[in-house]
Every structure is written in structure tokens, then in C-alpha cells.
Amino acid sequence: MKILVSLKRTADPDNANKVKVAPGGVKIVTDGLENKLNPFDEYAVETALRLVENGKVRIAGDAVTVVSFGPKETTTNIRQALAMGADSGALFLSDDESLDGDLVARGLAKVVEQQKPDLVILGKQAVDGDSNQVAQALAELLGWPSAAFAMSVNLAADKKTVTVGREVDGGVITLRLTLPAVISVDLRIVSPKAVTNNVTPATHAYTDGPRFAPLPMIIKAKTKPIAEAPLASLGVDAALKVKYTGFELPPKRQAGVKVKDVGELVEQLRTTAKAL
């Protein structure tokens, strides 16, 4: 089983309200915000690892490779995934401004052609651009079966199919995909029993959330290989299909009043806000 996971580094989402816009609205400025691994991509790494494990032990012969597109500093975020347990990384160097979801999907399609994984797992969206497009576009480019917004994944014992529960409006759609396939993961994929592979015993419950890397793994990650190459080496057309013409900050909402009790709240809702 070979799994490829795509990573993006994003400005610290817990401080996204500190982003600024450069004079003239020419770009978004994230100075001072730490670059973190996109949370959904962290879940994608966790999903991949659970699929290649028998409980706490790695299944021999299985491998997880992580790949990212971005500047040199992205290496830090790739190391984090390696410390979690991924085996190797690849970084295709590019400025952030030269990338968008469409180009990343086309780049990933080339990487898939080279590496021939059985499964590609991605976060459902990066929390900076909020585009939610790469996994779907990649599946279409490859002509591979896919499931977006996965909240559960079950790999069949014969490793030929994967059954995926998709979080959609109004419920859960379950699909069975013939591998190779593309999956994008949603929040609950990291709940303790969401990922099963018919190897790890059913009694094994993972800790909720993506795993923390213990110190020995962090040290080990420093010796794991990260292949670097310019984006151009993939032979993709670098032209973007969209063009941002400006950025602005949203209007700020003003804080209102504090009410002293339920009676006053109801009165305000009825008379002032006319919302009751």
C-alpha cells in the first residue's frame, strides 16, 4: 500500500483575524503569524498513517509519502508530517503567489504519475485560501474514483477497495471506491474509530485527533529524505486561470450591549431588535 498525502503550509489559523492587507490592497500580509501545517492536511497524514498500521506497528512494505508545493520554508511543515510517521517527503519549490489550487492539482497529477500511489489523501480545504478544490480537481485530472469530505474510511482486507463515508448536507453518503483513488478528509476522520483497515484489531481505539510526534520521532524525522525540485521540473503549464485584483479587510462588527438577565434580553429582542 502506497499512500501519497498532499500538504500545504498556512498562516496560523487560530490567529487569522490578525491578517492585514498591504497598502493599495495589493496583497494579504501574514507577517508575524507562524506558518503551520494546514489542519485538514494534518488529518490527512493521520488518516494515511492509520491505514498503514497494525495498531501501533507499521505494516511492512507500506509507505506514506508527503508532498508539498511552496517556498523552501515549507520543509519545516514537511518535517512535522515525517515526525508524525510519514516515510519521505517531496517539495516542489515555488513562490506562494505563483500557485493556486488548479496549478497544485495539475502538479499533483504529475507526481501521482511518477509515484503511482494506491491512494492519494488530501485535506478538504486549506484554511487560508478556503478554496476547497484540489482533491476534486486532482481526481478529475487522473480519472480516478474519489470521495470528498470523508468522515470515515475502511480499507478492504484485499486492499482493492475503500469504503468512505462522506459528510454532506443532510447526512452521510457512503461510497465504495476501487483503488487507486483520491480522498479528501473532513474534521471527524480523526475520531478514534473513523479509519479502519481490517488489520488493526477492532478493539484498538486511536486517540482522538491527529497524533503528536514524540521526541524520538522528531529526531528521526531529521534523517528522513525530502526530495526538492523546482515546480517547473514537473513540466506543468505555470499559467494561472484566475487573477486576484485586490484585497480588503471585511467591515468590523461592533460589539453591542451586555444585558443583565433573561428578562432584559427578551425585552431587547422584542422591542429594539424586533427579532422575537
Partner: protein
């Protein structure tokens, strides 16, 4: 000449209200538009769509489209768009639209404008879209001849019928060889008597302070129903397993903008605010007076929710009964 293909969303043949936001988008873009409705047993949905001023309603009724599987739907949408010479394909950014649109864009070699909150008509359409959990707004254009757009439902109000009777024509489903390797197993629908989150006039949401699934059931739900509201939740509450993710309001969940939003025991993390800060009136109940939710709330009540929510429930019931 430029024209828009609006892709309608159906479920079990029924037209979904998300569709009406994409129609509003088309009207605001000020270009002629047609509506494509696809599924199985969509005759009534097609009839319903005749009243919105579309040049035509194109109906694709096929057993292979009975359930939404992206691999099955994509070739048909792309082929209809290509054959009809449409310059814009628009669909609401529901889980359906978010799944479908990027694929259609690839098929058409089109650029994608995802989850737009505004459109400015003109020689080239300019889109505004929230980024960084709504903390920045980007203005963008698509530079390819054909463009694909997904439309944020909370920012494009549902279109009302404008009269008229657009002609309905049947179109054929395209072969979808890729769909053979995707087997639809089931759709477990969460049935609720409550309004849908994205359509409700009042939304009452709970956070982790409700402490359990039981807390949602016994404390929050009576308030939800007293308001006749939809129920939402913070990501923390979903993470803790109190309620399904389907109820999550926030950057990566549902984005809502109701007339009244009541946040109960929600601290107001950035990613939650991204999903509700455009609500008309916001009420926050939290025992932590410093909780960030109070910075966006019109009315804040610093109190123990387990004490005041039942009181509020009673008061709302009474107020609504008196109307």
C-alpha cells in the same frame, strides 16, 4: 454572447433551496441564463424552475443520476455547458456544488471562482470572496474563456419566482466511464423537523460548554424549538462528539446569516465567527465575560447557561404564544 448555466441541486428528485441562491447570482451578474436540472424523477423540479426567468430549463432525467456521485454528474454538466456555449457555469457552494464545480472546471479547462460572496457585473465579471476564515476579502477574475463559479448561499438570498414560463427541454446524460469504479452504497439522511441551517430565520447554536450530547438534547433543543429555529454547533462541540458535523457552523462547516443567531456556551473562536458573523442580530450567552463571542454580539448575557437557557426557553415560548 455571454450566458450562464445555473446548475440546480436536487435530492431524491426534489429541488433543493440552494438552487435559488445560484439563480440570484445569475440575476446579479446581469447575463442571460439557463438552468440545468439533473437527477432521476426531476420532472416536477424542472417545472418548478420555469418561473425564474431562465431562457430555458434543461432537464436530464436518468436512472444513473438517482444519487449524487460526482463521477456520474460531472460529464453531463460539462457536456451541456460545452454544447450550449455557456461562458459561466454557476452552482451554489453546498457540499454538492463544492464537490462538483472543481471537476467541471477541469473538464472545461476553466478557472474556478470558489465560494464567492459577491459578483460585480461588467465586461469581465469580478468576484469577491472571503478568505482566511472571512478575515480578508479577495477580489478576483477568471481569465479563461469559460468560468465556473460556486456561490455562497448565505450571501445570495434565495431567488423568488419572477413569473414567466421558461421552456423545458430534455437533454441526455453523458457516458461516465469513471463512475464504474465508484459504487454508491447508501445515503443516511438525517431527518429533522427543524428548518435547514442555511435557510433558517433563527439559528440557535451550542458549544462545548453544554458538556455532553445530553446537554444539547435537554438544555439547548427546547430553546431551538421554542424559537422554531435550526440548531447549530461550534466545531468544539462537534469535535467532542456531542452533535453531528452536519450542524457545524464555521469556516469549514456551514456559513449562516440568519435574522437572529443565538450562541450558547460558544467562546467565539475565529473559525466559528467566520460562519455566523454576518447574521443580522447576534445574541451570546456565556459565563466567561471575556469570551470573544461578545465582541460580535449585539446582546450579551454573562451567565451560567444551565440556569438561563431554560428561563429563556420559557420566555420565548411565552413571547411567541402572545404574538
Amino acid at each position: 454572447m455571454s450566458k450562464i448555466l445555473v446548475v440546480a441541486e436536487t435530492s431524491g428528485g426534489r429541488l433543493k433551496k440552494t438552487t435559488h441562491s445560484a439563480i440570484t447570482f445569475a440575476r446579479k451578474a446581469a447575463l442571460p441564463f439557463d438552468i440545468l436540472v439533473l437527477g432521476h424523477g426531476v420532472e416536477a423540479a424542472a417545472q418548478e424552475l420555469r418561473a425564474f426567468g431562465a431562457g430555458a430549463v434543461l432537464a436530464v432525467d436518468d436512472a444513473s443520476l438517482a444519487h449524487f456521485v460526482a463521477e456520474a454528474y460531472t460529464p453531463t454538466v460539462a457536456d451541456v455547458a460545452r454544447k450550449g456555449g455557456y461562458s459561466v457555469v454557476a452552482v451554489t457552494a453546498s457540499s454538492f456544488g463544492k464537490d462538483l464545480a472543481p471537476r467541471v472546471a477541469v473538464r472545461l479547462g476553466a478557472g474556478l471562482a470558489p465560494d464567492v460572496s459577491r459578483v460585480e457585473a461588467g465586461a469581465a465579471l469580478t468576484y469577491k470572496r472571503p478568505m482566511y476564515a472571512g478575515n480578508a476579502i479577495g477580489a478576483m477574475q477568471v481569465t479563461t474563456a469559460v468560468q465556473v463559479v460556486t456561490v455562497r448561499q448565505s450571501e445570495f438570498e434565495a431567488a423568488a419566482p419572477s413569473g414567466g414560463s421558461s421552456p423545458v427541454s430534455a437533454a441526455a446524460a453523458s457516458p461516465a466511464p469513471g463512475a464504474e469504479r465508484v459504487q454508491f452504497v447508501s445515503f443516511e439522511e438525517v431527518k429533522s423537523a427543524r428548518p435547514e441551517l442555511t435557510e433558517a430565520r433563527v439559528v440557535v447554536s451550542g458549544g462545548r460548554s453544554l458538556k455532553s450530547a445530553e446537554g444539547f438534547k435537554t438544555v439547548l433543543e427546547p430553546l431551538v424549538d421554542a424559537f422554531g429555529a435550526a440548531m447549530g454547533a461550534s466545531r468544539a462541540a462537534v469535535d467532542a462528539g456531542y452533535v453531528p458535523n452536519d450542524l457545524q457552523v464555521g469556516q469549514t462547516g456551514k456559513v449562516v446569516a440568519p435574522g437572529l443567531y443565538v450562541a450558547v456556551g460558544i467562546s467565539g473562536a475565529i473559525q466559528h465567527l467566520a460562519g455566523m458573523k454576518n447574521s443580522k442580530v447576534i445574541v451570546a450567552i456565556n459565563k466567561d465575560a471575556e469570551a470573544p463571542i461578545f465582541q460580535v454580539a449585539d446582546y450579551g448575557l454573562v451567565a451560567d447557561l444551565f440556569k438561563v437557557v431554560p428561563e429563556l426557553t420559557e420566555a420565548v415560548r411565552k413571547a411567541r404564544a402572545d404574538r
